[in-house]
């Protein structure tokens, strides 16, 4: 690649993808904010309102999450999240060295390949492990009064609450890094703009190898 490479705009993110991304962002932010207030970190809305909002938003997210998973499965987009270690080294090198030298990202986005290997791994971990744990512990927390009837009162609220908090801290740390990473596009705001418009800039002539395709060539 050289300095004369041309950038082209491609349509990457479909309407539903963008919708669920931003709604999910809003829900997570609200959940973190109200969750920390319930945790006792600060006082903002008042405990009872924080609990009310947290419960409502939590259940809303659960419903949205079902739709997201359904969409991923039916569109085949789930393949974008298949983890791989191939070329992960390139990506790590880019963020630790290349980015400071002004080098282009080793893996350009395209419809067939929206995520680089690091993103695949992180997003899969969040969607398949972190969020389900958060949802299960959240639901357990919510249904605390039924534990005895369900025969699961051996769990202990302290344990469930702690796991829920650990996941929340992971999410918050992720959010910090995720927000920062949006600035690493071709311009500071190009990644964020892409999540609104669906269109992102990539280097012209980007090729995708078969193994990393989310979709069949046909």
């Amino acid at each position: 690649m050289n300095a004369r490479e041309r950038l082209v705009t491609i349509y990457l993110y479909t309407r539903f993808e963008r919708f669920w991304h931003w709604v999910q962002a809003a829900l997570i932010l609200t959940l973190i904010l109200t969750g920390l207030e319930i945790h006792g970190t600060f006082t903002l809305l008042g405990f009872d309102r924080a609990v009310e909002i947290h419960n409502f938003v939590g259940v809303s997210w659960l419903i949205l999450f079902v739709f997201i998973v359904f969409w991923l499965l039916t569109t085949g987009e789930w393949k974008q999240y298949i983890p791989t270690s191939k070329r992960m080294y390139d990506v790590v090198c880019h963020y630790s060295i290349g980015i400071f030298q002004g080098k282009p990202h080793p893996i350009q986005k395209c419809v067939d390949r929206k995520h680089n290997p690091v993103q695949r791994l992180v997003y899969l971990t969040i969607a398949a492990i972190l969020l389900p744990i958060q949802m299960v512990t959240g639901l357990l927390y919510f249904t605390y009064n039924h534990w005895e009837a369900w025969g699961i009162d051996f769990l202990g609220l302290a344990g469930v609450a702690s796991v829920h908090m650990i996941m929340a801290f992971f999410l918050l740390a992720y959010l910090v890094v995720h927000l920062y990473m949006t600035t690493t596009g071709h311009t500071l705001s190009s990644h964020i703009a892409a999540m609104w418009t669906g269109r992102d800039l990539v280097v012209e002539g980007t090729t995708v190898e078969d193994w990393e395709r989310a979709k069949d060539k046909t």
């Binding site: 300095a3 009310e52 908090m165 992720y174 071709h186």
Partner: protein, 575 residues
């Protein structure tokens, strides 16, 4: 208007009843006109409401007689027992029923009689301690006539005082040192300087009716010898409270009398008796319309809030009182501290009293030092309805102070226990340093007696008191700090003034002392918090460092004007 004319005919017909009738009439009319049955049934009140209404609204049901018309009550009376005899001529079983109750025996009916539990026995508190040797003063609150010493005949039917609970003139007053008798002639009580007159016996006898707040309050508002002394939630402000003070009794609200909840069967009145809970199980009137109406759940059920409201989930572990009685002593000041060891100081060789805040005595030569308080935040404990109380025969451990004279039973693991608000009264009282027991002081008596208030000599008073109680005394005594608990259950605030969640769900909040369980907002795992914030902090630092290096390297590349990379090329393309 509360009836004061002595008649049993209710003056008021509550508007809500006419509303119900009008609604029922409208519903019937709608049915006749062929309206769909479904719309009519939607107007029907909930099943429990009808029963509840019947119990309170239909006052006529209780009052089928006008006592002023009874011939027996026209006779000339000169003393209480004469009135009682007249009452018994119709109410043949009343005295025999009453003899069975704790209002008469002052003994715990559920305890082993040998232990002599009850205020007429050896049970002590940290107010005036015990009645033995002090009967004429203490028994002015006994619903009987003439309990002046241990010779009182508990089998005498005519000694039952019907009037103190049933008279409706509000003029019937017992003489404070009269052993339960009203003044026989015009008399001044030195203790308060007030003049007491004999009752107008015929007028009070003809006024009788169902007990009102005023009747119960004659004794219960003045527990401990003064208004609001013992209970922070039961004082004379409840005679005519507004709904802000008590949402149930408020005259501008529901206007309940005590007996609305403290239901009565053959003169046995529902309520807690020493270690026996007021109600053994949590039933509502919807489940059992004969359940005693003593608990909040009797009328409100165990899911009293709107469906889905978290507070409904709390009713298994938190008593209604905990949130709905945010503070006690809201009506009048209540006594929080009574130090008998400070008693006996004199000014110019004379006993004196000194008033403090709230116009209440903070020092009294006869009784020692007091602390009063208003609007007090209760102390909370797991409570299953039982409150054991020590007696003067029980051995105490002087090494662990304050010694708990009474304390709530309960534990988080006990399904019948819930977090409950208490007034805890603390003080110092005499105890036998050899026998390790509380001591009964002879306080009230004639100048020639051994009473403390006659000579201010503890030794004489304690020897005399212990002798009267039939208990040993080594002769050696000291004062020891004690605590005594009262469950806070009256003065329920309107719902909009009940406690906010964060009053408990926060650090150092109301339930800070109740440990051993996880409470959101209060409890957290320190390792999780430290690790979590550490991780978040690390992320912030990492991206800040990364971003700074990017910024600096971008600047240096731009200055050099050298080879441009992807990011820089993009900017060029777009510009």
């Amino acid at each position: 208007m509360r009836k004061t004319d002595g008649s049993d005919v209710p003056i008021r017909r509550r508007p809500v009843r006419s509303f119900v009738r009008a609604t029922a009439g409208a519903a019937a009319a709608a049915l006749l006109l062929g309206a769909p049955a479904a719309s009519a049934s939607a107007d029907e009140p909930a099943p429990g409401r009808t029963l509840a209404r019947q119990a309170v609204e239909e006052r006529e049901h209780w009052n089928t007689t006008d006592h002023s018309k009874h011939e027996e009550l026209q006779a000339e009376f000169h003393a209480g027992p004469e009135v009682t005899r007249a009452c018994l001529s119709c109410h043949t079983e009343a005295s025999l029923q009453f003899h069975q109750t704790i209002h008469w025996t002052w003994a715990d009916p559920f305890a082993d009689p040998a232990k002599r539990n009850g205020k007429g026995g050896w049970t002590v508190n940290n107010f005036c301690i015990n009645i033995h040797s002090n009967e004429p003063r203490c028994t002015c609150c006994h619903a009987g006539y003439g309990w002046k010493d241990d010779t009182f005949d508990f089998t005498d039917q005519n000694r039952v005082d019907c009037l103190v609970c049933h008279e409706q003139t509000g003029t019937y007053v017992k003489f404070p040192a009269g052993a339960g008798n009203p003044a026989a002639e015009e008399m001044v009580f030195k203790g308060n300087g007030k003049t007491y007159y004999p009752p107008d016996w015929n007028r009070v006898a003809q006024s009788v009716g169902r007990p009102t707040r005023r009747n119960c309050g004659v004794c219960h508002f003045d527990g401990g010898g003064g208004d609001g002394v013992k209970h922070g939630d039961l004082d004379s402000s409840l005679r005519e409270p507004n709904r802000e003070l008590d949402v149930h009794m408020g005259t501008d609200g529901e206007d309940f009398d005590c007996v609305r909840c403290h239901t009565t069967r053959g003169h046995l009145i529902a309520g807690r008796i020493y270690s026996t809970p007021a109600a053994p199980d949590r039933r509502s009137l919807i489940e059992d319309d004969l359940a005693p109406k003593i608990m909040c759940e009797s009328c409100h059920s165990d899911k009293p809030h709107k469906p889905g409201v978290k507070a409904n989930d709390h009713t298994d572990k938190v008593a209604c009182q905990s949130c709905h009685i945010p503070t006690f002593g809201r009506g009048l000041p209540t006594k929080m501290w009574w130090d008998w060891s400070k008693a006996g100081n004199k000014k110019d060789g004379k006993p004196y009293t000194e008033k403090g805040p709230y116009d209440r005595p903070v020092y009294d030569t006869k009784k020692g030092e007091f602390v009063w308080a208003v609007d007090v935040v209760p102390e909370y404990a797991w409570f299953n309805g039982s409150i054991p109380t020590l007696t003067a025969a029980d051995e105490i451990d002087p090494g662990s102070t304050p010694v708990r004279v009474s304390w709530p039973l309960g534990a988080r693991s006990d399904p019948n226990s819930r977090i409950f608000p208490f007034k805890v009264h603390r003080g110092k009282q005499p105890y036998d340093t050899e026998n390790k027991t509380f001591l009964v002081p002879h306080l009230f008596g004639k100048p020639d007696s051994d009473a403390y208030w006659a000579h201010y000599d503890w030794q004489r008073a304690l020897v005399s008191g212990q002798r009267a109680a039939g208990l040993p005394f080594s002769g050696k005594f000291d004062f020891i700090e004690t605590s005594f608990v009262y469950p806070t259950t009256h003065m329920v605030v309107p719902k909009e003034r009940s406690l906010a969640c964060e009053e408990c769900h926060a650090d150092e909040a109301r339930l800070a002392n109740l440990t051993g369980f996880y409470m959101p907002g209060r409890d957290r795992s320190r390792p999780v918090d430290v690790g979590g914030w550490g991780l978040v902090g690390f992320s912030v630092v990492a991206v800040a460092v990364h971003g700074s290096i990017r910024f600096v390297s971008y600047g240096s590349r731009k200055r050099k004007g050298g080879r441009k990379g992807g990011n820089d090329a993009a900017k060029e393309e777009r510009s």
